[in-house]
Amino acid sequence: MAVITGNFPPGPYQATYKGTTVGLMEGPIRHQQNIIALPIRASLWGQNILDYIVQGGGVFVMVTVKEWDAGAKAVIHPFDASQGIFPITGTLINTFFGALVLTALAGTPAATEGPVTRTYPYVGIMPGHNADITFGPVERNVPIVLCALPEQNSTQVGQPKYFTDT
């Protein structure tokens, strides 16, 4: 019997951003998330951290787009069709962000084990991240770090929800 028999979820994922298919990508799409919390200490316990008070979370997605199609360009610069035009100062960035949907390739272990789809409702290029675009006789692979903005979880007021898995 093979060593690995189940619950092993590899498989490529396709992406759409703001409803447009993102073309070929380099390597896997990477999701990162973290919890933000303040430590609690007490003099009796010295510097031992006794607990944390949750303050929020951070969710990020890293993709490297290879093609120069509408989907890839929107991932790189969601603010305007012209990459040289940026939003007016004071604008809220969520007005330019949009849904990123990752879909497992049919017939792969990822499509069986899940998530079959992962949908981030509000995602866009992370402020401060430099989109590094090559102009030359090489592949134009552009690594982009996207940050996700939360929406309110429907089951609990004040509870952030960054994405939905199916």
Partner: protein, 99 residues
């Protein structure tokens, strides 16, 4: 009363699932055959969708516990403004008419 669309990943589906979860009483329609929007129709199904209706708050609370304990289950909001097709589209899925 509250309505929800329960998505069950194919791997986690069974003929007794709804009864085991105590949800059979809330389902009045045939299950939806669901697949990702990005898949061709011939690629088959990825989920079954069950419209749950007439949930009371305490039913909803129990349902939330079930969802939290089962990775293969997802609950989507449906109401007068959001029908099943809209709810599925919001998470990259659609009803597979070929199934």
């Amino acid at each position: 009363m509250i309505s929800k669309l329960l998505l069950v990943r194919l791997k986690d589906a069974s003929s007794t699932l709804l009864a085991d979860l105590g949800l059979a009483q809330f389902v009045t329609e045939e299950p939806l055959s669901v697949s990702p929007t990005a898949w061709p129709e011939e690629a088959g199904l990825s989920h079954y969708g069950y419209v749950l209706e007439n949930l009371r708050l305490k039913d909803k609370a129990e349902l939330d516990k079930v969802i939290k304990a089962n990775d293969g289950l997802t609950l989507l909001d449906i109401n007068d403004d959001i029908d099943s097709d809209d709810a599925l589209a919001s998470v990259g899925l659609k009803v597979n008419e070929s199934a």
